[in-house]
Subunit: 355 residues, 2 copies
């Protein structure tokens, strides 16, 4: 059945049934003019929104609708995690042609529900509309943080250690495989690992909250690539930074695949976006132990990759072969590069990044 | 200059500059991974989201970009008003081709800012993305309401009086004028009044808060048309209703224009959507005086149009010529009617409306 055949009311009914499981603790869920959620006292609200646009951020044949739904919510939760916020609620809006299969939309919603349930997020509403172009999925998410406890990009200080969760560059490699349409051999688990890194990123919600509680000084998520996102922290904090190339964490699958395809590993790890790992800085004296304890308890790899410096030294990369080089900006521009896989930067980019 | 020429970073910078004026009291405004707002203690959060899609909800030549921006935020604030909530923050996401003029986007943002400042709303973030289709504007808005004070659709009781703010049918008539491309005479202020009702609806935020404080029993905004929106209240409340045709409030401009064009006035007033007026029910004994006082102090027309009845009598219309008729559902379906001016129902429609 097509979306246009079931009609708006029945489609809404389907969608609301799917999201009902996320609304167990919500005073007023989907079905009124707006939803109502409880607001824990003494906490501030944290807000973010991201668009995923067909032919810009995704192509339908790259992943199942369910995987697409998972990613749509995940990229929003990643922004909340980067503030140290506990996610609470999300609004899901989808514009698509009435000629799309009904199951595509309901499967996208099921994927969103999976991630919502994994992270305790209530899907409290949204909107559905026809469109004459490709699909547009707009999600807004909200969470809470203790008053004054949000971890901003602006808190880094010279001498702080720079850390990153997980591994870098895998999502960018996965996107390259998808764009190249590279066929994987039947047992090619490396390609699958990398494609999955792009298709189904894991938002670091629990890590974000734990790191905020540990008192890290600045934090952001890696959506634009390490190089650009580190620049965001340095610009907001008025600092420089030095990163050690040899310490950048990398998945074995990426190592092997880059070698096999003669890809530039540095370019992928420094410039590749959409890892949705957390990049943060901290005064090691006060927080180092808590970070190592969290890493060991959670099993999440957390790697020290460099240090915050004064602004005058800029942002540099220490090379394994000795010496340093300035770290290229490696930004990405949606509007100039229409039709390529894109990044989700929201409005968080600092003005003047491309100066 | 085109959006694709200025590039994403500089466009974000422009947009952030435009919205800065709305963020004076916000702890963390646009520019980090997410924004942070204060959360007044003892209040609940209220959430809503609406999509406006080009060629579905609007056509670019119908209004200026600034007017379009105003409406995008207004339809969201109308949903918050219908809950009795005080609006607080909004997230603005826009997907469009890089070939659109930069000024179109910045003017849309200026229109959003106007309405935000009129209603004390902080625009705390959002997203910008290229798209290969028409423009899609996705706004999510949040507000607060005293714990347990949200006015739901489900609170109406037999015997309650049914009220509506403002006038009915003007927006539907305005849409008809726009769709017909009817040229107005140089002094045709009636056409302008009606087109403006569609193009620039006024969200009844202050009225919504005042009516909630007065203790009204159920409330919704008129986005789908009186007939459908009243049905939402009756279905949620398990009641019927009787409306008096001769008491429905109507603008003089609509009266004259309908007569001139031989339009069915009842159809416009009962089935026409997008008025964004408030439809509410109340026990007149306890709230009638407060409602009349608010109307007289604010200058906002508030009209008693009928009564809530038991569910067994259904929803009926008392005719001026005597007798009653059952009120047609008069729903509207986005997906079945792609490419026509559409309504903004969000996910609030009650399941089973079209049964």
């Amino acid at each position: 059945m097509l979306v246009g055949e079931i009609g708006e009311e029945k489609l809404l009914q389907e969608v609301r049934r799917i999201f009902a499981a996320t609304n167990a603790d919500v005073p007023v869920a989907i079905g009124d003019d707006a939803a109502v959620t409880d607001s824990p006292s003494g906490r501030q609200q944290v807000w973010t929104a991201d668009l995923l646009v067909e032919a810009i951020h995704f192509r339908s044949h790259w992943q199942t609708p369910q995987q697409l739904g998972r990613k749509c919510l995940a990229v929003n939760l990643s922004d909340l995690a980067a503030m140290g916020a506990a996610p609470a609620a999300a609004l899901v809006s989808i514009a698509c042609s009435g000629k799309r299969p009904l199951e595509e939309i309901t499967d996208i919603c099921r994927g969103i529900r999976e991630v919502a349930l994994e992270h305790g997020v209530a899907v409290t509403g949204g909107d559905l509309s026809a469109s004459t172009g490709g699909m547009v999925i707009a999600i807004a998410a909200g969470g809470t943080v203790g008053a004054g406890d949000a971890v901003l990009r602006s808190g880094a200080a010279p001498g702080d250690t720079i850390y990153v969760t997980g591994a870098l560059g895998s999502a960018a490699a996965g996107l390259r495989l998808l764009e190249n349409g590279t066929l994987s051999k039947p047992d090619d688990s490396d390609s699958e690992t990398l494609r999955n890194a792009f298709i189904d990123p894991q938002p670091r919600c629990r890590a974000g909250e734990a790191l905020a509680a540990a008192g890290v000084s600045a934090m952001t998520d890696i959506s634009d690539g390490l190089s650009t996102d580190l620049r965001h922290i340095c610009q907001a904090s008025g600092t420089g930074a030095q990163i050690r190339m040899e310490d950048l964490p990398c998945d074995e699958a990426l190592l092997r695949t880059a070698q096999e395809n003669e890809w530039d590993l540095r370019e992928l790890m420094l410039g590749g976006g959409e890892d949705y790992e957390l990049l943060f800085t901290t005064d090691d004296e006060s927080c180092g132990d808590a970070i190592r304890r969290y890493s060991s308890e959670s099993g999440l790899r957390i790697t020290a990759i460099g240090n915050v410096t004064g602004a005058d030294t800029g942002i540099t990369l220490a090379l394994p072969e000795g010496g340093t080089t300035s770290l290229p900006a490696g930004g990405f521009d949606h509007f100039r590069a229409e039709g390529r896989g894109g990044r989700h930067t929201g409005m968080g980019g600092r003005p003047g990044d491309d100066d």
